[in-house]
Symmetry: C2
Subunit: 186 residues, 2 copies
């Protein structure tokens, strides 16, 4: 990776972390500067505005998500295994999901309130997971409509659990509720 490219990546990684841990509006440009350890001018060279950084953060999350889902597709031939893998991955992330909520869900909640553009960015990210889940249920023999329904339920319940677990800062609650989701895969 070229130097400029590496710097760009470092900025996006730092911003991604801060947007997750603090939220978008609470994160100042100067916070990103501090986190990434470069000058403000340098960051401005790579991204002309905070909104530009946000766009790049979304793009990064989309790419990362696509890679994870593709890896699962490759690793597990069986749709049931894939869905269980999805659920297990939530359990593995319990610490951060309980501390900060879901990275995508909390960002969507904050930004989607009155901004059509950022809402669409969130939709793109959510669609990746939503339609991947749907596809797995189709593979399990469900109709398109049923699969859509199941995917929505699994997805939304995961989101709700993250909200509750974050409010109560309670990993036990998180695990208990996530375990219930396995029944949807049976």
């Amino acid at each position: 990776m070229k130097q400029g490219e590496q710097t760009r990546t470092n900025i996006v990684k730092a911003a991604n972390k801060l947007f997750y841990h603090q939220g978008f509006h609470k994160t100042a440009f100067s916070d990103i500067v501090k986190e990434v350890g470069l000058s403000k001018g340098n960051i401005t060279y790579h991204f002309k505005s905070k909104d530009d950084i946000l766009q790049a953060v979304f793009q990064r999350r989309i790419t990362k998500t696509m890679n994870i889902l593709a890896a699962w597709d490759e690793q597990y031939p069986d749709a049931k295994d894939r869905l269980n893998c999805f659920i297990e991955s939530l359990k593995e992330g319990k610490s951060d999901l309980t501390k900060y909520g879901c990275p995508n869900g909390t960002l969507a909640s904050e930004l989607g309130k009155n901004n059509a553009l950022t809402r669409e960015l969130s939709q793109g990210l959510f669609d990746l997971i939503r339609h991947w889940l749907e596809q797995q249920f189709i593979n399990l023999g469900f109709s398109s409509e049923q699969a859509n329904d199941k995917a929505l339920e699994l997805f939304s319940r995961g989101q709700g659990i993250c909200v509750l677990a974050q409010v109560y800062n309670d990993e036990t609650l998180f695990i208990t509720e996530i375990n219930k989701l396995k029944q949807l895969v049976k």
Copy 2:
């Protein structure tokens, strides 16, 4: 109501609306000034800081929630009717819940990330509903443990549906998923 008391209430109402529609950090003091239609100095007379207003907003939401739950308790002798009333109230709020998400859930997501104080404020608010739901399931004959479990599931699924419906700005999705919650009450 005395004049000062009325002004205080108006400020809290305006802030409550803005925190819901825009989020806390995106809402500036000047936004509240504009919304309430009074001078900045007047608002500062009643609340010395934005955090003070936030505290009052939480207090208002707690009081309002307690009043609603108490009214349902009085209106419906049967626990099943109360729970269905809870679910119906979500459906009636579909427009705002889809546009802006759950008022309490989105505020908790935004503020609970790294602030123990505001997390506790959210917990107090969530506890009201959580324990009210729990009590209804106890009234239906469930054990304390089962009732807690059912209440958590109903509550968290409601939260998750709000997140998804907001992201997709989709009232149909919202209603479809909320209707599923009725099965938990049967």
